[in-house]
Point group: C2
Chain length 138, copies 2
Amino acid sequence: MSDAKAVVADYMHHVWTDGEVDACDRFLARTYTIHHDPGDPWDGQKLTLDEFKERVRISRAPFPDQRFIIETIIEEGIRVAVAWRWKGTFAADMPGFKATGQPVKSSGLTIYYMDGGRIAGHWQVTDRLGVFQQVTKS
Amino acid sequence: MSDAKAVVADYMHHVWTDGEVDACDRFLARTYTIHHDPGDPWDGQKLTLDEFKERVRISRAPFPDQRFIIETIIEEGIRVAVAWRWKGTFAADMPGFKATGQPVKSSGLTIYYMDGGRIAGHWQVTDRLGVFQQVTKS
């Protein structure tokens, strides 16, 4: 696996699956740009490291045991594309949705933009309709 | 642009934007596998060319003026990843949804799998929640 692919895979594992929020310090650039992520509350924003860590904490809270499984990873130049699946238990309420205690599945594709060995932003689409359908039937 | 990138870009333009269904003959392998496409009625299926053309006709019918705009295209080996935006007028009913005559926007990411210069399948996630929200408020 190339350096950039390893950075992306390790970042997804440590930060998003295991919830090691401070590991952002070694994976991310000082400013992180969410170029496109429809439905994400931070879509279109540039975040400092501290703001990004807060995004991870808030995003993970409803699904504390969540896991990302990488299906495919493709690299060209500074861009790394990842196809992934995701699962987690809906254990804590989200705005507008009461926790069901049930397992939820989803998937998505993300293009990460690298800058000097660190991740500086992404362009992403995830299956939010699938999640919506699962969290609204308890 | 590489040959594979050009095939993918031309395919999206001619088949999906312009609706030249028979152009599938020069872009696609004899069997096309939809590896992953949550919410797509053909998700998980292997299609012949004729079955694929029917999928294009049925999918395009509610949005006959639809356009795909490529944002980024990444290639490694036999895989081509495309980030795209989409827009169209909701001009004809879909199952469960009455046409609104209004413009609709979406976006998605697709990994195309190449085989001998032709496209043999894809792994895709599109912003179906965004479309759902737009077609349910008329």
